[in-house]
Symmetry: C2
Subunit: 205 residues, 2 copies
DNA sequence: ACTTGCATACATTCTTGTATGTATGTAAAT
DNA sequence: ATTTACATACATACAAGAATGTATGCAAGT
C-alpha cells in the first residue's frame, strides 16, 4: 500500500490524531511512542513522521480540535449581548460545557488526557501556559457578565462581581476536574447540572 | 565511600526522597530515571534500589510525607467538636491549607508534582484512586460541618447542606489547582485567603 | 561470621531521529 | 493523449543512546 490521493492523506492524518488520543489515554503521553500511535492507526512510523514533526506536534493538533470549539461556544453563550438575563448566560455556559462532555467522547477523553495523563514539563510547559491563558480568558468573561448582572440588579447588593466571578471560576475548575476524574462511579456526573444550578442560586437576589 | 551506620542509612533514604521530589518537579515523573535521582542525591542507582523497589515506591514514600499530616490537620480543624462556630471551622481549614502551601516548599512541590508532573496510568492509576478517596473524605467532613451549621442556624434557610458542601469542595479543588499552577505571576496566590472569606460569606445568614 | 549499605558491571530491551527506498498522484510539455 | 518530471505519502532500515533490573563485589558495622 503506497501513495494515496490528497483526501486519503487527510484521512490518515485524522486517523493518526484519533489513534494518538486513544493511546495517550491508555498509556499516558510520556509512555506513548510513535510506534504505538502508528500501529494503532494501522500505519508505520514513517507515516506519523510525515504528518507530524514529533509527539508534541501531534498533541497540539489533538488539543486544538477541542479547544477552538470551546472558545467559540464560550463567546456565543457568555457574551451574547442580546441576552436579557446575565446570570442565566453563565448557567447556560456551565451546563453547556457539561453537556458537551457528556455527548462527545473525544472531548471527554482529551480533557482526561490533559488533566491526568500528561506531564507539563519541557516542551509541554508551554501547553500549560496556553491552558492557563484560556482560563484567564474565561475568568475575564465571567467578570464581564457578573458586572452586567450587578447593573441589572440581579445580585445581592453585598456581592462583589470580581469575587463572584473568581468563585464561579474556581467552582468550574473543580467541577471539571471531578467530572473527568470520576470515571467509574459516575455518581458525580449525574448531579453536575444540579450543582451548577445550586451554585448560581447562591448568587440570585 | 561505603557502608554507614543505621542512622546514616535513614539519612540517605530521606535524601533520596528529597532528590526524587526535586527531579520529579523539574523533569516530570515519567521522564525521571533512577539515575537522575541517584546522582541528585549524590549516590548511585545501587543505593536507590536498595531503599526502594522502583519509582512508584519512591513516589508513594514522597507522597505520604505530605498526605498523612494533611489528614491529621483536617480532622483537628474540621471535626473539632468543641468549636462554637462550624462555618469558621471550614474557613479555618481552607485558610490553613493555603497557609501550609505558603509555608512549606516541600508540600507545594509535591502538590505541583501530583497535579501537573505525573501521569496516572498503569501503576499510578491506584495513586489517583487514593487521591479521589481522600477527596471524598474531605467532602464527607465538610458535609458534617455544614449540617452542624444548619442546626445552629448559621445558614440561610434555603441552603441545602449537601449542596453547600459540594460547592465548597469544588471551590477548594479549583482553588488548589489555580494556586499551584500559578507559579510565575503569583497574582493569584496573594488573594487566595480573601477568596476563601468571600466564598464563606456567601453562605452566612 | 554474618549482614547491611551501598557501588559497579552486565545484558537486554526500548525509542528516537533520520536516511533511504519506492510507488503513485499530478501537472506541464510535447 | 502520452510522456516527462517532480512532489507526495508513506514503508523500511540503520545507528546510537537511554533505561531497567539484576547480579555481583566489597568494605564496614554488629
Amino acid at each position: 500500500m503506497v501513495r494515496k490521493t490528497k483526501e486519503n492523506a487527510e484521512l490518515t492524518r485524522q486517523r493518526l490524531i484519533q489513534a494518538a488520543r486513544q493511546v495517550f489515554l491508555a498509556r499516558g503521553v510520556s509512555r506513548t511512542t510513535m510506534e504505538h500511535i502508528a500501529s494503532q492507526a494501522g500505519v508505520t512510523r514513517g507515516a506519523v513522521y510525515w504528518h507530524f514533526n514529533n509527539k508534541i506536534d501531534l498533541f497540539q493538533a489533538m488539543r486544538e480540535q477541542v479547544f477552538l470549539p470551546l472558545i467559540d461556544r464560550m463567546d456565543d453563550t457568555l457574551l451574547n449581548e442580546g441576552a436579557e438575563d446575565p446570570l442565566s448566560c453563565i448557567e447556560n455556559f456551565l451546563c453547556g460545557t457539561i453537556q458537551v462532555l457528556t455527548d462527545s467522547i473525544e472531548t471527554r477523553e482529551i480533557y482526561e488526557i490533559m488533566m491526568i495523563k500528561c506531564e507539563y514539563v519541557e516542551e509541554f510547559a508551554t501547553v500549560l501556559q496556553q491552558i492557563l491563558s484560556n482560563c484567564s480568558g474565561i475568568l475575564q468573561k465571567l467578570l464581564l457578565v457578573y458586572e452586567r448582572a450587578k447593573v441589572q440588579e440581579q445580585l445581592h447588593l453585598s456581592h462583589d462581581a470580581a469575587q463572584l466571578a473568581m468563585d464561579t471560576h474556581l467552582f468550574f475548575i473543580g467541577l471539571l476536574h471531578m467530572w473527568v476524574k470520576d470515571t467509574d462511579g459516575n455518581r458525580f456526573r449525574y448531579q453536575a447540572i444540579e450543582l451548577i444550578k445550586a451554585h448560581m442560586k447562591l448568587r440570585q437576589r
